[in-house]
Symmetry: C2
Subunit: 349 residues, 2 copies
């Protein structure tokens, strides 16, 4: 049997050939216009059966192309999103996108493309104008970033939470955020503090961490090496275990900076376990937001990225970039939001 160049998929033409009818007839029948076009019942049946037998699947692209004279083609935007962040972070982002699309009555199709941290390049063949009009990329690792830097893409790309020379980005000033966290601890007179970090982290988390440490040093706040612990995973258990290490250190911290919201409740639990009351004995500050932080006991002080705004701005940026083919990458720096709650008081003025 000879291999024809077309793929394994069955086309209308093949059905038509097998049945000795024209492809127009097949198309009409398969679209339910057989009666209307007065195709004989007999022919209709044969076509239906053959289509089923050959497992015919219409090519959506061909159909959409056919329609593109009547129906304006939407912009197709891919959202490449790190698998671990398929949580309320993504949900808030999607909500932001949906509202922006709806409020501005945009003709956009959102294609969701989760990827594994550090493996963005596995999607290489999709990140181009043969597949999408633009791409939003969230949660990249340093390797992913390197991959992006070292390649050329012919569609606008907006990075969420990463700054690069080459691409558009929407972010907060992570270094500044880290500095502010340390400043907060300084103004609240903490002398020994702890840090619960993440073992797999992107550039932005690294920046916060760096800034936090440097500023602590400047302000004469001690972060003992044993007061630093990195979570393997973004969950309660990992947060708990990391915090236990920090809390059982000789030099007891009076405040802890938790770098991922998903670890926060574990840290709180650890405090309780070793008999420390938050915030009386120890203050907790968390990077990352969750609706439950407003209702826990104690409620949790956070510094958060404005995801809904991120969504709106990144969509805007993609569209502007598509339209102008602007060459210089745009950068939108938004302000992080401090939510002062019970677990850590605010700045002392």
């Amino acid at each position: 049997m000879e291999m024809k160049k077309n793929t394994a998929k069955v086309q209308i033409k093949q059905i038509a050939d097998k049945l000795g009818v024209s492809s127009g007839t097949v198309s009409i029948v398969l679209n339910g216009r057989g009666d209307q076009m007065r195709i004989s019942k007999m022919t209709q049946k044969r076509i239906q059966d053959m289509a089923k037998e050959m497992n015919y699947q219409p090519n959506i692209y061909a159909r959409r192309l056919r329609k593109s004279a009547e129906e304006e083609a939407p912009y197709i935007i891919a959202i490449f999103w790190r698998e671990e962040y398929l949580d309320d972070l993504l949900a808030r982002f999607l909500k932001g996108l949906y509202h922006a699309i709806k409020n501005n009555d945009l003709n956009i199709e959102l294609v969701l493309q989760p990827y594994d941290f550090g493996n963005l390049e596995k999607h290489h063949r999709f990140i181009n104008s043969n597949h999408f009009n633009g791409a939003i990329v969230g949660g990249i690792s340093n390797e992913d970033q390197q991959y992006l830097e070292q390649n050329e893409f012919d569609i606008p790309i907006v990075l969420i939470g990463r700054s690069t020379k080459k691409y558009n980005s929407v972010l907060i000033d992570y270094y500044d955020a880290g500095t502010n966290c340390a400043n907060l601890f300084s103004m609240r007179n903490h002398k020994i503090v702890g840090l619960i970090g993440l073992s797999t982290k992107g550039k932005s988390v690294q920046l916060i961490e760096l800034a936090f440490k440097e500023t602590c040093k400047e302000k004469n706040i001690l972060i003992d090496t044993n007061c630093i612990s990195y979570c393997e995973e973004r969950n309660f258990t990992s947060g708990y275990e990391s915090a236990m290490k920090v809390l059982t250190n000789e030099k007891k911290p009076t405040a802890i900076f938790v770098m991922d919201g998903r670890n926060a409740f574990g840290v709180l639990k650890a405090c309780k376990t070793v008999g420390l009351t938050v915030p009386k004995d120890i203050e907790i500050l968390v990077f990352g937001e969750n609706e439950y932080f407003s209702y826990s006991e104690p409620t949790i002080t956070t510094i958060q990225q404005p995801m809904e705004q991120f969504a709106e701005r990144s969509l805007n940026m993609i569209l502007m970039s598509i339209k102008n083919k602007a060459d210089n990458p745009m950068i939108q720096e938004l302000s992080p939001i401090f939510n002062f709650r019970e677990s850590c008081g605010g700045f002392i003025l």
Copy 2:
């Protein structure tokens, strides 16, 4: 100026015509193969400039179609998802889909289509084989369901959490779930119970509520009308307010069934406000799951839908349905999961 039939969008042909070159040349230059094909720098520049000026956007469908001989077209699956459920419920569902796609090495493109509760029909022109190979629909209202029942669609549709005669569905037995919740309260010897419901609810929530009420009656458990309150919104505040109404009733309930997880912490807070300790004075059972329910104080007993399984099964169903064009709708009934935690003990055997 005459209106041509093609849309406002600019095509390669128009650029070519304006410049007096062929569309092939334009295509080559725009795809960065100008040097390779030894198109004069001059021509390249003119083409680039004109494309920018005319704001040219390639038609993705045409490109994908062009490639479809080399590259197998993916199945395009739309996920119609109720806007209010763009939260961790969707996140868990997407995670499930991603893992199923990855583990089975499927060639599928996921298009996310949020919709407003009760307004699914606004997307009517997209729910067909001109746009997608199949659709997953989550969170429909009764009106949405009616809309679906009363129309014909030529692509397989899987409903999440709804059973109908006409469509595939993946769900749990909601009536049974409601019955079990009431049974649990009965076995734990509650005589007066409360219900915190939802004001905008789909069929499944209605079924749970109905079953819960009926079974309570059967088991001689009183649900005073004043012990029933419906939340306008799925959040803390709404849960708190509804619970306050129920808790200040004359006939004090000793257990409350909360029908949406997003209201749960508000209910807990209300208990605290009126001086009731959970579970000593009052037990709380929640429909809906969240990771924080395992860590709150008290931890919260829930009955949950297995979203990850929902995702996997629905994807499977769509694919089977696409392939077999199976006529009879398939129904996958999965078991809900009871998570017994502190807020309400388990069945007494």
